[in-house]
Symmetry: C2
Subunit: 483 residues, 2 copies
């Protein structure tokens, strides 16, 4: 038992070294493991179960807004990528190339998709003829590969899982509406299901997607004060429709190029959950995406098998029947104390302890992972109480994250203050910017902070001067050091 | 309208040319389309929705038997494949090789997974230490690539989607039990959800998986009389655990190699559904996997918008609330007749026609896709009647397929009869076989028929002589020409 007790606590404290803490949590909670190939990871069952829950919640929303799923090929001929030069340049350094099939060398090498605009564009050119065929609203759940130099589990890996939506529309206005509709869908989904507040806004030209007219993103603040891009939604304009010749006969019998969008979120969201909510004891999972929402630990003393176990089994059955993801851990080779630590590490939102004394008093002890609160709770209407408690935990995790975000968002007017805060406290910094890429680049060079978004919501009234060049500002924007 | 009416009927009759009929159905029903790269396909939304339903039904069964999902890397280093030589030889001709990442040539080339035994073996060696870690019961939903020379949509494509289960056990017996448990799970799933009867059995050594000790499969008879392998379950023995060094400390503190299984079904199942149930009018989808189970077509004559449409909308709402996948097609630019043909082509199991006259008589017309039956049905308790009707359709499709299979299964004792039947009638042929690969190969060479399985169920009592060499037979087996 000794050895295992120690294992549970074998996580680098978050405050000591955030990066090591992050990796320790992933490995100890068995979310993922390093594959033998550089930069690649294996998503282990516990991590994959989180992804399945994320998929279910998001897929429902994607379908409810009229989109359908499909599947496009993994390989994209090099000539297809070459058609849109910005797109090629943006992705060329990151592409894994297939050059041989079986024993033969291929005539044209194939890219393992880094994203699917090019192959989907080629298919849409076949499928779309008339305005009656529009809009096309297709999403794909798939793996993609980007040959990254520096990798970190979930946040940046050579291969990752994602969904990529690709839509085609009659008008520019409709495409922009779709872009923003999805951005808001991502925001609502991330805030509701992952309990992570995000800032929705537009990327600067420098930061936009290779081949897009405009890129929008939702950005969150991790608990180390660095920003993470949680999802992007691109208004592609007619860039791809022109090179792939995706044309339709409009309502006046004129040939027009379609207007397109694309948008995606990935397994990176799991990294965001870890970094937003976790603490020194490990993960804290929002109930809505937790593979195990409730862990029942019987206190194995005295005649617990006769008195306690039947109550625990009964509760497990009732919770499962109510649709709660519940697990009873009645293993005898582990102590209750070991189990407490283990499921805390794994971020299980709610623990139910039940021992001989609780049975006598017709109660159980509920222990919340979000705040450590212990509640002696009557066994009457226990299922309802537990459901309420899970909802309270979900809400509280969001509130905690929102408070953290607010406390770590600073409005500054001077570049001196900016540098000081970015160095000492990190977080989001909001400031006036002139719209010039030169100032954006200089600030990045000098502080490692980038413009995360030009927010959709107007934050500050009036006019101001650019933080860097002091010329007239166009936007009040979010800066941060980012992952 | 003329042009579209013609389009609906633009399918080669099944009896005229089965292969062309198959491809016509796939393209006209928009299940899939050819990608611009040889041998690759795009699964279009209607086809992908069938796959999603298949996944949901199968995933539920996989989880109910204690398995969990995970995700392993797409790429496998060549040296890993080389560790198990049978495995390498089996797959080497079919592997797509990645040789470059970004601008750099890789030191070791990477296989795009043709199957994942090798990479999963390497991970299991890390994860498994003790008998307490066993069994490991992991499944993966993924894409795989096999560089096929001759391809056919859904049946054999360069890339396909599948699930692959990979388990590790303490004992050989447990591994064999798992292999057979999954085989039976596949059988029950395919018969229940896809309405396709299958024969469960063992593959001959010649036909077994590269690296397996034993391979089992479920085989179905398509409506052209050719067999299709629907799914396989492999008892891997210790082949992979020995080369990947997957060892555990057993209950007596001895180091042992684990016993493994692997098993999979793929998007090929969609091809099986098309070929088992379809007819000259197109697809016939079993209700349990149909993306649209009920199509409501209002008869757009007279004052239908005032009288008929509200009833149709109300029925749509009620069916959706009851969990039925329903669609109301009230488009005015298409005639009811065009819609009838279109949804027949797409295999929608049940059509509800409702016109002004039906409203007067408080009825609707139900038209079954499986047998063409038209039933004037009261609007009272209509939802229940429709649910019953869908169940009847599901059962009838299975019965029809089972009758076809029985009628096309022939027991023969002479090789002359065998050749005659295989040439004139195809189907399954059951005969005695001596167990020698030489006879198996000679029969294949001379008739193109292969041994599909040595059935699990004993079919014929007594003893017999090998169909080919006349020596004493060991098994009574299923032969067929196969896809």
């Amino acid at each position: 038992m000794k050895r295992e007790e120690r294992l549970v606590t074998q996580i680098t404290p978050k405050s000591e070294d955030f990066s090591r803490w992050y990796v320790d949590v992933i490995r100890r909670a068995e979310l993922a493991d390093y594959a033998p190939m550089k930069g690649m990871m294996v998503i282990r069952p516990y991590g994959y179960a989180i992804w399945e829950n994320i998929q279910a919640h998001l897929d429902r929303r994607i379908k409810a807004t009229g989109h359908v799923n499909a599947y496009f090929p993994l390989f994209i001929p090099e000539s297809f990528l070459r058609k849109e030069m910005d797109h090629l340049k943006g992705f060329a350094p990151e592409v894994a190339w297939v050059t041989h099939g079986g024993q033969e060398e291929l005539e044209e090498r194939l890219a393992v998709r880094p994203t699917s605009e090019a192959i989907i564009g080629a298919m849409y050119a076949k499928w779309i003829q008339s305005w009656r065929d529009l809009p096309v609203l297709i999403n794909q759940w798939a793996n993609v590969v980007r040959w990254e130099k520096v990798t970190r589990p979930f946040l940046r890996t050579t291969e990752f899982l994602w969904q990529e939506g690709h839509t085609a529309h009659e008008t520019e206005e409709e495409a922009r509406e779709e872009t923003l509709k999805i951005l808001r869908l991502y925001q609502e989904f991330i805030e509701t299901e992952l309990a992570i507040p995000v800032i929705a806004g537009k990327k600067t030209s420098k930061e936009k997607f290779a081949g897009a007219l405009e890129t929008y993103s939702v950005e969150a603040l991790m608990s180390d004060g660095r920003a993470l891009q949680m999802g992007t939604s691109h208004h592609l304009g007619q860039h791809f429709s022109r090179v792939f010749n995706i044309r339709f006969e409009d309502r006046n019998q004129n040939l027009q190029y379609v207007w397109q969008t694309s948008w995606g979120v990935s397994t990176r969201l799991i990294g965001a959950v870890i970094m937003s909510h976790g603490d020194d004891s490990g993960l804290k999972l929002p109930p809505r995406i937790a593979p195990i929402q409730v862990i029942i630990v019987p206190i194995s003393i005295g005649n617990w098998k006769e008195k306690v176990l039947p109550v625990a089994l009964d509760l497990e059955k009732k919770l499962a029947a109510a649709g709660i993801r519940v697990k009873l851990d009645a293993r005898e080779e582990y102590t209750p104390g070991w189990k407490f630590a283990e499921y805390e590490l794994r971020g299980v939102p709610l623990r139910v302890e039940v021992g001989p004394r609780d049975i006598k008093e017709n109660q159980v002890i509920l222990v919340r992972r979000d705040n450590g609160e212990k509640l002696a709770t009557s066994q009457d209407n226990l299922v309802e109480r537990i459901i309420d408690c899970l909802e309270a935990i979900q809400k509280n995790l969001f509130t905690l994250a929102l408070n953290f975000q607010k406390e770590n968002t600073h409005d500054v007017d001077s570049y001196e203050d900016f540098k000081k805060i970015i160095e000492e406290r990190r977080g989001f910094i909001r400031a006036w910017w002139c719209g010039e890429v030169s100032c954006e680049e200089a600030i990045k060079e000098e502080t490692s902070a980038t413009i995360r978004v030009i927010p959709l919501e107007k934050i500050r009234e009036g006019e101001g001067c650019c933080l860097y060049c002091k010329k007239k500002a166009t936007d009040y924007v979010y800066f941060a050091r980012a992952y």
